[in-house]
C-alpha cells in the first residue's frame, strides 16, 4: 500500500486531536447533542461528540435515534451548518462617527478573526464552504472578514459512511468521499478490529497536527474497511436528482405548471434558506445611538422568500407572488448559480428537505419539472 502518510487513531486520538487544536489557540467546533438535535458547538473534549447517536430524517422530519454501535459520526447534516461561523447571521461591518466639526470618520473592526477548527465537516459541507468561498471572495470584491475567518479555519473532514434518507450528495458530485480542501480527513471504521479512524492530512498544518496524535500507520484492513464503507454509502443515498443538466432544466421550465403546485404547499417561511449551507443573502441595517453622532452598519442573513427582498421604491416588489419566490430559490440554487459563480449552489445535504415545515423536497420538485418538460417536448426523461 502506498505510503501516503495515512494513520489510524482511536477515540483517545480524537480526544488528543481536540486538545492539540485548542493548544494551537483554536476554538474547536464540532457536533454534539443538545435539545434533541445534533448541533455544532464549541467542544472542550472528545466526550462531547455524539457517540452512539444517529438521526432519522425525512421530509419535514428530524429525530435523534440511539445507536448500539457507539459511532461518533454516523449522523448526517443537522439544522446548522458551518456558515453560522464563517458567515455569521449578524455582523457589524463598520461604524461611523460625526465629529464636533462635522467630519465623518468610518472605522472597520480590525480585531483579528477567530481561529476556528471545525471537527466533523461532511464532504457535502466541505464543498458548501468552497461554494461560499467563491461567492464571497472570488468576485471583483472580496468580503475581507469572511476571508480572514476562512483563511484561519482548520478543517477536519469526516467521510460519510451512513447517509440520511434526505441525502443526495452523489447526484451533486460532492460526496460521500471527501473532496479537496481539508486539513485532516477522517473515516470512521467500526468492526471486529475495534472502533477507529483512518486519518489523512491534506495540508502541512494537517500533517503537523497529525504528528502530535497517538497513532499507528494505516494498516491494509483499516484502509479497505474505510473504502468499503464509503463505497456502500454511495449506494445508499436517500434521494437523487434527475440525471439531466439541471441548469438547463431550470432555464427551460420558468413557465412550468409545477411552480403553482409547489406554491400551494410553500409557506415562504424561508427555513430552507436559513438551513442551506450555501445560501448567503444578507440585508444591511443602519443604526444610530441616542446622541445621533455614532452610526453602525450591520449585515444580517436575509431570505429571498421575504417579500421586501426585491422592494423597489415606487414599483413595489419585483417578486411579489410566492410562486416567483420559490422559483427564484430553486432556479438560483441549481440553475443560475452556475452563471453567477461557476458552480452549483446545491451540494445535496438535504437540510432544506428536512427543515421545511411542509416537507417540500427539492429533488422531488426537480423530478417533477423534468417530467413536465419531457411531457411538453416529447423527449425521454
Amino acid at each position: 500500500m502506498a505510503d501516503d502518510g495515512a494513520a489510524v487513531i482511536d477515540k483517545a486520538g480524537l480526544n488528543t486531536l481536540i486538545t492539540a487544536l485548542a493548544r494551537r489557540g483554536r476554538t474547536v467546533i464540532g457536533p454534539t447533542v443538545r435539545d434533541g438535535a445534533i448541533v455544532l458547538a464549541e467542544l472542550s473534549s472528545g466526550d462531547e461528540l455524539p457517540y452512539g447517536w444517529g438521526v432519522e430524517l425525512e421530509a419535514g422530519h428530524y429525530r435523534l435515534r440511539e445507536r448500539a454501535d457507539g459511532a461518533a459520526f454516523a449522523h448526517s447534516a443537522g439544522p446548522q451548518s458551518w456558515k453560522t461561523f464563517l458567515h455569521p447571521p449578524r455582523e457589524r461591518q463598520w461604524t461611523a462617527a460625526r465629529t464636533a466639526d462635522g467630519e465623518l470618520e468610518f472605522s472597520e473592526d480590525r480585531t483579528p478573526p477567530p481561529a476556528y477548527a471545525f471537527l466533523g465537516v461532511r464532504p457535502c459541507d466541505l464543498r458548501a464552504i468552497a461554494v461560499q468561498d467563491r461567492v464571497l471572495t472570488a468576485g471583483p470584491h472580496a468580503d475581507a472578514r469572511y476571508r480572514g475567518r476562512r483563511r484561519r479555519a482548520f478543517l477536519v473532514a469526516v467521510e460519510c459512511t451512513e447517509p440520511g434518507a434526505t441525502c443526495f450528495c452523489v447526484s451533486m458530485g460532492t460526496g460521500p468521499a471527501v473532496g479537496p480542501g481539508y486539513d485532516l480527513a477522517l473515516t470512521e471504521v467500526l468492526d471486529d478490529n475495534g472502533h477507529r479512524f483512518l486519518v489523512r492530512a491534506g495540508t502541512q498544518e494537517g500533517e503537523s497536527v497529525l504528528a502530535e496524535l497517538p497513532r499507528r500507520p494505516a494498516d491494509p484492513a483499516t484502509r479497505t474497511a474505510a473504502r468499503d464503507r464509503v463505497a456502500e454509502a454511495a449506494d445508499h443515498m436517500g434521494r437523487t436528482m434527475p440525471p439531466v443538466n439541471l441548469q438547463t432544466l431550470m432555464r427551460d421550465t420558468l413557465d412550468a405548471e409545477r411552480w403553482n403546485d409547489v406554491t400551494a404547499r410553500c409557506l415562504t417561511c424561508g427555513n430552507c434558506t436559513m438551513v442551506c449551507p450555501t445560501c448567503f443573502c444578507t440585508s444591511t441595517e443602519d443604526i444610530t445611538d441616542l446622541t445621533g453622532d455614532h452610526a453602525e452598519r450591520w449585515r444580517r442573513w436575509e431570505s429571498c422568500y421575504d417579500l421586501d427582498f426585491t422592494h423597489l421604491a415606487g414599483a413595489g416588489s419585483v417578486r411579489s407572488s410566492p410562486r416567483s419566490r420559490y422559483r427564484q430559490w430553486l432556479t438560483h440554487k441549481i440553475g443560475t448559480w452556475h452563471d453567477q459563480f461557476g458552480s452549483s449552489g446545491c451540494v445535496g445535504c438535504g437540510r432544506c428537505i428536512v427543515w421545511c415545515p411542509t416537507g417540500i423536497d427539492i429533488t422531488e420538485e426537480a423530478h417533477a419539472l423534468n417530467a413536465e418538460r419531457a411531457a411538453a417536448t416529447g423527449q425521454p426523461r
Binding site: L104, S107, G292
Partner: protein, 277 residues
C-alpha cells in the same frame, strides 16, 4: 477599532465626501456635487454608480450624472428614507461614498455611428455624462439625438443645460401630463423616435428609465431593425451591497450590481419578458 487608512476597502467601507453644491431640479429631485474630503475614490466612468451614504440613514445606488476630476455629481429623486435625506443635503455636509461600481455605457462602441440617447424621468441622470462626452467630441460620432420623457414639465431635469444641448444635438422632449404653459410634445418617449435623426443600421442606443419605458423603446428599436447588441439599457434592482455578496440585485443569471446596471438588450430582453424574474 482603528480609523481606516483611506482606500483600504472602498468597496465596503464608505469614504468621506463633502457636499459642495446642491440645486433643486424639481419638487422631489435635487442635484448634488461631492468632493472628497481626503483621498478620492478611483475614477468613475459614465454608466457606473456609487453607493452614497446619508449619515445614520443608509446608502443607496446613485448613478454618476457628472464626472469632473474628483468631483462626482448625482441627481437624486426622493422616494424613501435615504433618497429623501440625500435630496435635502446642504453644502458642507459630509456623506460617505463607495465605488465605483458596475458596468459602463461603452461610448467607444458608438464611435463613427449615430447616437441615440433615450431617457425616462430620473433615467436622464446616468445618460447626462454621455451627452457631455459626445458634445465634447462631436467629430467622433454621427448624429446625436437626446430623447427625453418626463411626467410633467415641472419634472424635467437640467432645464438650463437642455438649451445648450439643443444647439448641438437633436434634443426632443415629451411629457405625460402637460401644464397650461407647455407647448411641446405630449405622450410617451417612443413617439419621439419618428423624429430622431438616426440610421438604425449604423447607430448605438443608450436607454434608461422605468422598465416599461425601456421595454417599449428597445422593442421599437428592434422593430426598426436595430441590432439588439447595439442597444444598451441600464436596469434597476434592489441593491444592498453593490459588491456581489447580498443577493438582492439578481435578475436571473445576472447580479446586476456586478454584471449591470448597463447590459445589452440581447442580454436583457429574454430576462425582462419573464414575469417576476
Amino acid at each position: 477599532m482603528t480609523v481606516l487608512a483611506p482606500r483600504a476597502s472602498v468597496a465596503t467601507v464608505p469614504v468621506p465626501y463633502r457636499v459642495v453644491e446642491c440645486s433643486a431640479e424639481s419638487a422631489d429631485t435635487a442635484t448634488i456635487a461631492l468632493e472628497p474630503v481626503g483621498s478620492p475614490l478611483p475614477a468613475f466612468t459614465p454608466g457606473q454608480y456609487a453607493m452614497v451614504y446619508a449619515f445614520g440613514v443608509g446608502d443607496i445606488p446613485l448613478s454618476v450624472c457628472g464626472i469632473d476630476g474628483h468631483r462626482l455629481t448625482h441627481t437624486v429623486r426622493s422616494v424613501g428614507a435615504t433618497s429623501a435625506a440625500l435630496r435635502s443635503l446642504r453644502p458642507g455636509t459630509r456623506v460617505g461614498v463607495r465605488g465605483p461600481f458596475g458596468t459602463a455605457w461603452d461610448l467607444d462602441a458608438a464611435s463613427g455611428r449615430d447616437l441615440l440617447l433615450v431617457a425616462g424621468g430620473i433615467g436622464l441622470a446616468p445618460l447626462r455624462p454621455l451627452v457631455h462626452d459626445a458634445l465634447a467630441a462631436p467629430q467622433r460620432y454621427g448624429r446625436l439625438n437626446v430623447l427625453i420623457g418626463a411626467r410633467t414639465p415641472g419634472d424635467l431635469l437640467y432645464t438650463e443645460e437642455l438649451r445648450r444641448w439643443r444647439d448641438a444635438a437633436r434634443t426632443l422632449v415629451t411629457v405625460d401630463r402637460p401644464d397650461a404653459t407647455w407647448t411641446g410634445d405630449v405622450g410617451v418617449v417612443t413617439a419621439l423616435l419618428d423624429r430622431a435623426a438616426f440610421d438604425p443600421a449604423n447607430s448605438v442606443a443608450f436607454v434608461c428609465g422605468p422598465e416599461v419605458m425601456i421595454r417599449a423603446t428597445a422593442r421599437e428599436l428592434v422593430h426598426r431593425a436595430m441590432d439588439p447588441d447595439r442597444i444598451r439599457v441600464s436596469l434597476e434592482r434592489t441593491m444592498h451591497c453593490a459588491t456581489g455578496h447580498c443577493g438582492h440585485c439578481q435578475l436571473g443569471p445576472l447580479l446586476l450590481c456586478r454584471d449591470g446596471p448597463v447590459v445589452t438588450w440581447t442580454h436583457a430582453q429574454t430576462l425582462l419578458f419573464v414575469r417576476e424574474l
